[in-house]
């Protein structure tokens, strides 16, 4: 049921207009800071959720954005991998508050980039099957969703942001970091 709830969610449920915010880049301290637990029904959380989606929408190639990336140390992120070629199953656009990984399995290594680390990419091993628990902004409904493949990777990347971690902190080894060759 939770999966359907997340799949049917759109940012119009938030009822507020999202603003496009500036994306901060490492070494900004906020990116290395453990995000605060939020009240999902608070007006500020709902606005933040709308802002994250709006900022993701205008950023080419962006499949997810976490609050620390717009300078807010909070455990909120948005994801939308629906248009990405590596995507298999997905839940469309959604925002989760206070999300945590419940189950993770079937690790695979792949190369990741990040708007907050624009000049580097890195090979990171992540679970390709993932169960995540979190709350929807506004209604504060608790959801448990099962993600696979690229959506699972995006979720882990964003949850890491909310914990003050970058993909650099998960690099598979000394030869797993690469200068970026193409910019979207």
């Amino acid at each position: 049921m939770s999966d359907e709830l997340v799949s049917s969610w759109t940012e119009s449920r938030l009822g507020v207009e999202g603003r496009v915010l500036d994306v901060v880049r490492a070494p900004a301290a906020v990116l290395a800071t453990l995000g605060e637990v939020v009240d999902p029904s608070a007006r500020s959380t709902v606005q933040l959720a709308a802002d994250l989606v709006a900022t993701m929408r205008v950023s080419p190639g962006c499949v997810g954005l976490a609050a620390p990336q717009v300078g807010v140390s909070a455990r909120v992120f948005c994801v939308d991998v629906s248009a990405h070629p590596k995507t298999r199953g997905h839940h469309g656009t959604f925002v989760l508050c206070n999300a945590e990984v419940v189950e993770a399995s079937r690790n695979e290594r792949a190369r990741e980039g990040c708007m907050s680390v624009p000049d580097l990419t890195g090979d990171v091993k992540r679970a390709t099957r993932l169960v995540v628990r979190g709350q929807l902004p506004g209604t504060a409904e608790e959801v448990v969703l099962t993600a696979e493949a690229f959506e699972a990777r995006a979720l882990q990347h964003e949850i890491d942001h909310c914990s003050g971690l970058l993909f650099l902190d998960r690099a598979a080894g000394a030869h797993a970091i690469h200068p970026r060759k193409t910019y979207l």
């Binding site: 880049r25 490492a26 070494p27 290395a32 680390v117 624009p118 000049d119 580097l120 091993k125 003050g164 971690l165 970058l166 650099l168 902190d169 998960r170 690099a171 598979a172 080894g173 000394a174 030869h175 797993a176 970091i177 200068p179």
Partner: protein, 172 residues
């Protein structure tokens, strides 16, 4: 059979590796381990190769590479190194934050302090972001949590972050 350590450094252009290895092959040298990368755009390659040619002979044969004045080549005879016994544990260390002098020395000093050995290291400066990723062997009796705490403390003092995690090798 002699081992040679060869370095080629300088301005990058297509063909440097092709020309270098062509010379080495013509001398009957066998490429063993090698690594090449671009460091702030500079070509940087180190090779260890085995063969019967003398170091001077190898250097002379590689001299045309340096003719344009943009590449430097060194050739040194090196002794064979025994493969160290893998008795410890393997870790990956990431350090990143605002660039400032002393990050590498402060952090890896904590690794050296406990007899840890860095087996691979990459550092990158990307804009203001300084990044270090190191692969580390720690002796079997190391208190890893204490080392991790010491590394974090050294990183904190410099205003950067550090994470130490096990190096995962998937046996297939």
């Amino acid at each position: 059979m002699t081992l040679h350590a060869i370095t080629v450094l300088g301005h990058d252009r297509p063909g440097i590796i092709a020309e270098t290895t062509e010379v080495l092959a013509a001398l009957g040298l066998n490429l063993e381990d090698s690594t090449m990368t671009l460091l702030r755009g500079h070509f940087a390659m180190t090779l260890v190769c085995a063969g019967d040619a003398a170091a001077g002979e190898v250097e002379a044969a590689l001299a045309p590479l340096t003719a344009a004045g943009t590449l430097t080549v060194t050739v040194r005879e090196v002794p064979p190194e025994p493969t160290p016994a893998a008795t410890g544990t393997s870790w990956v260390l990431t350090v990143h934050g605002g660039d400032r002098p002393g990050i590498v020395s402060a952090v890896v000093g904590e690794v050296a302090h406990v007899g840890g050995n860095i087996t691979d290291l990459t550092t990158r400066l990307a804009g203001d972001l300084y990044l270090l990723v190191a692969e580390i062997d720690l002796p079997a009796d190391t208190d890893v949590e204490a080392v991790a705490a010491a590394i974090r403390a050294a990183a904190d003092a410099l205003g950067v972050g550090a994470t130490l995690r096990p190096a995962e090798a998937d046996e297939l």
